[in-house]
Each structure stands twice: as structure tokens, then as C-alpha cells.
């Protein structure tokens, strides 16, 4: 919506959504969706499911997104920090948690 509360709009009809974060240039919004991490334009167009994961954060130049990805289950569940390009390509695990 606008900062005065007008023109409230649903951007994510069928995706579910939570934890929204604006891209640094203000054109896109990353958020947690049913399929993991999604990105949509600020006007609701071009929604994309980028990756399995959660808690997305944009790099200051907007070219990359850091996020968490879960491994294991129950008591042995853990997450690692990943970085991918903002189009979803080249996801890379930076932390390698687990049993070490």
C-alpha cells in the first residue's frame, strides 16, 4: 500500500507470503512463500519461486540474496547460510553446519 494507507493491494495471490523485504532499488520484494523464497515486482507482476529456503536478505547492490536452507529433521534439523544470484541461479552453501 502507499505510505498513507491508500491503494492496498495483494501481490501474492496464490503463493502465500511472509517476511517481506524490499530490494535496495525498491523495484522488487522477496518473501517467504509456500515453495520457499519468492520474488515479485512491487506492482505484483512477475512472481517467481527462486529457491527452497527462508529468511531472504538482499545484498546492498541487489545482485544477490542470502538466505537459510534447512537440512535434517526433528532434533537433527539445522540450517546453513546460502547465497544465490537474485534471479535464483548459483545457490551456494557458505557455512556447512551439521556435525562439525
Amino acid at each position: 500500500m502507499n505510505a498513507d494507507g491508500s491503494e492496498s493491494r495483494n501481490l501474492t495471490d496464490d503463493l502465500g507470503g511472509g517476511n517481506p523485504v524490499w530490494s535496495p532499488d525498491g523495484t522488487r520484494i522477496a518473501f517467504e512463500c509456500v515453495g520457499g523464497i519468492c520474488v515479485v515486482n512491487g506492482d505484483g507482476s512477475d512472481p517467481r519461486n527462486l529457491a527452497n529456503g527462508g529468511n531472504p536478505v538482499w545484498s546492498p547492490d541487489g545482485t544477490k540474496i542470502a538466505f537459510e536452507r534447512k537440512f535434517g529433521s526433528g532434533y537433527y534439523e539445522y540450517t546453513d547460510i546460502h547465497v544465490m544470484n537474485s534471479d535464483g541461479s548459483n545457490p551456494t552453501n557458505l557455512t556447512k553446519g551439521g556435525g562439525d
Binding site: 505510505a3 494507507g5 534439523e77 540450517t79
Partner: protein
């Protein structure tokens, strides 16, 4: 040997991260320690480094900083307490975090000059754009931290001070503050009008003129300003909480 993780120390962030305290119980058949987990990434303002939280439910969590390619992870806190919600100051010179349920702390970005900033049930902290203040929510009831019925108010504290100012004053919960990019306003999530429907509010940075922007019978929460300050993104769930 396994250690039972007490729910009292898991806090909101970890509970949501791991799916709630109910999922964290000890497996009686387990012989291995809980895995090392890494969570809560945040880019430094210059984009060269990423801070994150690392640890295990058996031990504690510390704040680490690594280069943006994952190299040279460094433990900044080496703290026996549980730390969460670490974020960079806007200029990247400082890092603030939450000490479990006991307050907020700040330190230099290299881990030096660690000091406690607040002493309360303080969550959701965010730096003002000029780096001079930190807004957060505090349970002002004095009940044990995390009590669902707690009365959360939005507070601010100077980044070099220890006495917070309470900006909101109502029986409903006020949480998730977010500064407008010019620092003159704070958006937040409030249940003051109806405890079953969260609304998005905006007030001036001194707490005056609170205005309901989303007055309707749906749940609206997690407001975030667009970088140019003209729009606010938020979550909406069309069901009662």
C-alpha cells in the same frame, strides 16, 4: 550425552526458526550432539561481509562474521549466553543483538567494546537510518518474558544511551517497528483496536499521531517501508488470530 533444551531459553526467534519448542525435545535414542546450525544472515552495508548466528541447541549461539564468499568466519561474541537478531548499524561500524530474554547489546563490528544497551524483554530491534537510535518492542507488564498476554510497547533508545523512551501507550500489543527511510516516522503492527485483528500503524518518530493505515477485519503485520519511503509492504492473513 544429550542435554534437554529448556524451552525458557529458546526465545521467539529460535522457536520460529526450528518450528517451535515442541520440535526441540531430546531424542532418547540419540547419542550424537545437536547439529551445528547457522541462521539469521545480514549483509554489511558495504556488501563485503555477512554476519550470521552459529551454534548448537546443546551449547549456545554466537555471532559470526564471514566474507561474502564464505571465507574466514570469525566468532565475535564467544559468549556463554544465547544471542539472536544481530544486525549491522547503518554505517556498518557496529553490530547490535538481543541477549536472549534479557535485553539488547551493541559492540563494534570487530567484536570489541561490547556493552549492554537495554535490560528488559526487548525484541524486534531496528536502527534509525541515521544510526543514532534503536527502536524495539518491550513487554512492559513485568511478566516472564515471552508470556503471550504481555503488553508490548514500541520504545526507542539512543545507540549510546541506556534509558529507553516508551513511544506507545495502550493496552494492546504494539510490535515490529520499522523506520521510514527519512527517519521521521515509524510503522508498526498493533492490536490496540481489536486483539483479534492486527493492523498496520504509522506514527511520528516521537510517538505522536499514531494512525491506523489498514483498518479492516483481516490480519496485517510485518510492515516494511520501500527504500523511497512512498510505500509499505506487509503480510496479510484473512483469518482471525
Amino acid at each position: 550425552m544429550m542435554k534437554q533444551t529448556p524451552c525458557l531459553v529458546c526465545g521467539f526467534a529460535l522457536a520460529s526458526l526450528l518450528g517451535g519448542c515442541g520440535d526441540m525435545g531430546t531424542d532418547p535414542e540419540a547419542l550424537d550432539p545437536a547439529p551445528i546450525t547457522n541462521f539469521g544472515p545480514a549483509w554489511s552495508p558495504d556488501g563485503k561481509r555477512i554476519l550470521f548466528h552459529r551454534g548448537s541447541r546443546d551449547i549456545d549461539f554466537d555471532i559470526y562474521v564471514m566474507n561474502a564468499d564464505g571465507s574466514n568466519p570469525t566468532n565475535l561474541t564467544k559468549n556463554p549466553a544465547w544471542v539472536f537478531d544481530a544486525v549491522w548499524s547503518p554505517d556498518g561500524t557496529m553490530i547490535s543483538f538481543r541477549r536472549g530474554n534479557t535485553g539488547l547489546s551493541v559492540m563494534n563490528a570487530d567484536g570489541s567494546d561490547l556493552r549492554d544497551l537495554t535490560f528488559g524483554c526487548d525484541y524486534d530491534h531496528v536502527w534509525s537510518p541515521d544510526g543514532a537510535q534503536i527502536a524495539f518492542r518491550r513487554d512492559v507488564t513485568g511478566d516472564p518474558c515471552g508470556t503471550p498476554a504481555g503488553n508490548w510497547e514500541i520504545c526507542v533508545v539512543k545507540a549510546d544511551g541506556v534509558t529507553p523512551t516508551v513511544l506507545t501507550n495502550d493496552p494492546g500489543a504494539d510490535l515490529k517497528p520499522d523506520w521510514s527511510p527519512d527517519g521521521t516516522q515509524i510503522a508498526f503492527q498493533s492490536g490496540r483496536d481489536d486483539p483479534f485483528w492486527w493492523q498496520i500503524y504509522v506514527m511520528k518518530a516521537d510517538g505522536s499521531d499514531p494512525t491506523n493505515l489498514s483498518s479492516d477485519a483481516v490480519n496485517d503485520y510485518d510492515p516494511v517501508w520501500s527504500p523511497d519511503g512512498t510505500r509499505i509492504a506487509f503480510d496479510r492473513i484473512p483469518f482471525s488470530s
